[in-house]
């Protein structure tokens, strides 16, 4: 109810022109040559972030499952404000930040290199911020795996890698998919992080909505952008879900 009503309102606003039905806002989005690349860049950012987060989050989950449960509580760090954690990356990536000062001391660079306002560093920042969201569902999935299966795999002379890819990973796939979905959706709509670490030249959908709505007072177009972002995110989420279901179809657990 709370969620459905605003979405209906968005849809209504995006197709109305002083009471008359129009698709002009959507036409404009797909024909102005500026908007579609913003959408593409946003979805790509989400996918890249989800991939990097998985690369770090899965080994982290393996580490945590093996460790004492008290250790896992570190993941509650995710409750610390995302604005604060974004700010940390300004300190790390800035001209006088941790990385540049380290490079300077090691004599690897002569002057500061530009790290802030670059897309790869934005992906790293988002990956760090979303890391707990990826790791938690994977931990749940890993903890549910019967340890006997891993022992059986080892007893059958399967190596560590083979056990990982043929036993552990497939069984934890539901957790992986859940993590990917959450991180993808969060990265696509992380307005503050995108704006602070991405800077003004890298425009993504959330800031675009904000610019068109609040700064441009063009509410119908802002609503249309919101609907397009919403639909695209949900489409990718549905696709990932389907892939996950296909991949786990043969499992009987």
């Amino acid at each position: 109810m709370f969620v459905a009503l605003p979405v209906v309102m968005l849809l209504a606003a995006s197709v109305s022109d002083h009471g008359a039905f129009t698709l002009s806002n959507f036409e404009r989005f797909f024909s102005d040559g500026l908007s579609v690349p913003v959408l593409g860049r946003t979805l790509l950012l989400g996918l890249e972030t989800a991939a990097v987060t998985l690369m770090l989050g899965y080994p982290l989950a393996l580490l945590f499952v093996g460790a004492s449960p008290g250790f896992q509580k570190l993941l509650i760090l995710l409750i610390i404000s995302a604005v604060v954690r974004t700010f940390a990356w300004v300190v790390i990536l800035g001209r006088q930040g941790l990385i540049n000062e380290t490079l300077l001391v090691l004599g690897l660079t002569k002057g500061p290199i530009a790290l802030l306002y670059t897309e790869p560093m934005l992906v790293v920042t988002l990956a760090q911020i979303e890391l707990p969201i990826m790791t938690l569902p994977i931990i749940s999935a890993l903890a549910a795996i019967d340890p006997a299966l891993r022992e059986a795999s080892a007893a059958l002379e399967a190596g560590r890698w083979r056990t990982l890819f043929q036993v552990v990973l497939p069984l934890s796939l539901p957790g992986v998919i859940a993590g990917l979905l959450l991180v993808f959706a969060a990265a696509c709509s992380a307005l503050v992080t995108q704006s602070i670490v991405g800077g003004g030249r890298l425009l993504f959908m959330p800031l675009y909505i904000y610019q068109q709505g609040i700064q441009g007072q063009n509410w119908p177009f802002a609503a249309a952008i919101s609907i397009i972002l919403l639909m695209s995110v949900l489409a990718v989420v549905a696709m990932l879900n389907m892939l996950g279901r296909l991949a786990t179809r043969h499992l009987h657990v």
Partner: protein
Amino acid sequence: MSDLTGISDRTAGAKLWRQLDRWSYALIVGGLGRAAMVLLVSPTAIVLITSFTSAATLRFPPPGLSTQWYQALWFASPEIVHATLVSLKVAVAATLSSTVLAAAAAIAITASKAGWARAADTMLMSPLLLPALALGLGLLLTFNLLNVGVSMLTLIIGHTVICFPFVLRTTLASLAQIDPAFEECSRSLGAGAWFTFTRVIFPLARGGIAAGAFIGFMASFDNVAISLFLADAHSEVLPIRLWDLIENLLDVRAAAASGVLIATTVTLVVLMERLTGLSRYVR
């Protein structure tokens, strides 16, 4: 090595292979896991250290230590203090209203064994998957239609929407763990529905409700997307103030404010962990 038989040659090879397998696994998977661990914790530590810098820029490592930025924050930043108070007010009001609504909804969902209760689970996830900015804009358009101008009240309503799913999820999780026999016992001993709720169900679900309320409170306190659309000029919230401070001025007071937020959050988390077993509900 040349006089070994074919069989032992194979086992020697297999042994080497197994060792290689073990080593590379430990190196790559263990290494990535440990790197992720460091990555998880270090940015927070870096902010804390920076907040005690004696310099006027965000240089890291800081050239010297001082508490000047905390003093500047406390004595010379009325706009940050004001934004903090606004955020606190909104978060407390939104947490209270969403907790009452969500706890009631959770009890209704648990009581009805119907199919829509399962569908509700997907609905629950939806605010986490929907772009919050779209939700904020949609709410603003809804208020416009109702001819309600933005104010503290609209801000609180928007934040209630943000908190609601968190409380609902944790309450549902703790209700699901309650053995239905307790309720049946209470009923068969002649207790009414209200008595059963206040004396049996609520005490058992209390931890889950409190954990959800806490997570919702923190989500509200950190929310930017909803506040951007629903706040009026007088009610600028803290995360937006901080965002402005970081983006436009690279002000070191942002580090001090972050330090306060980190310290407060960690204290509250430890407290809530003791009281409710918070980490069980963070899923």
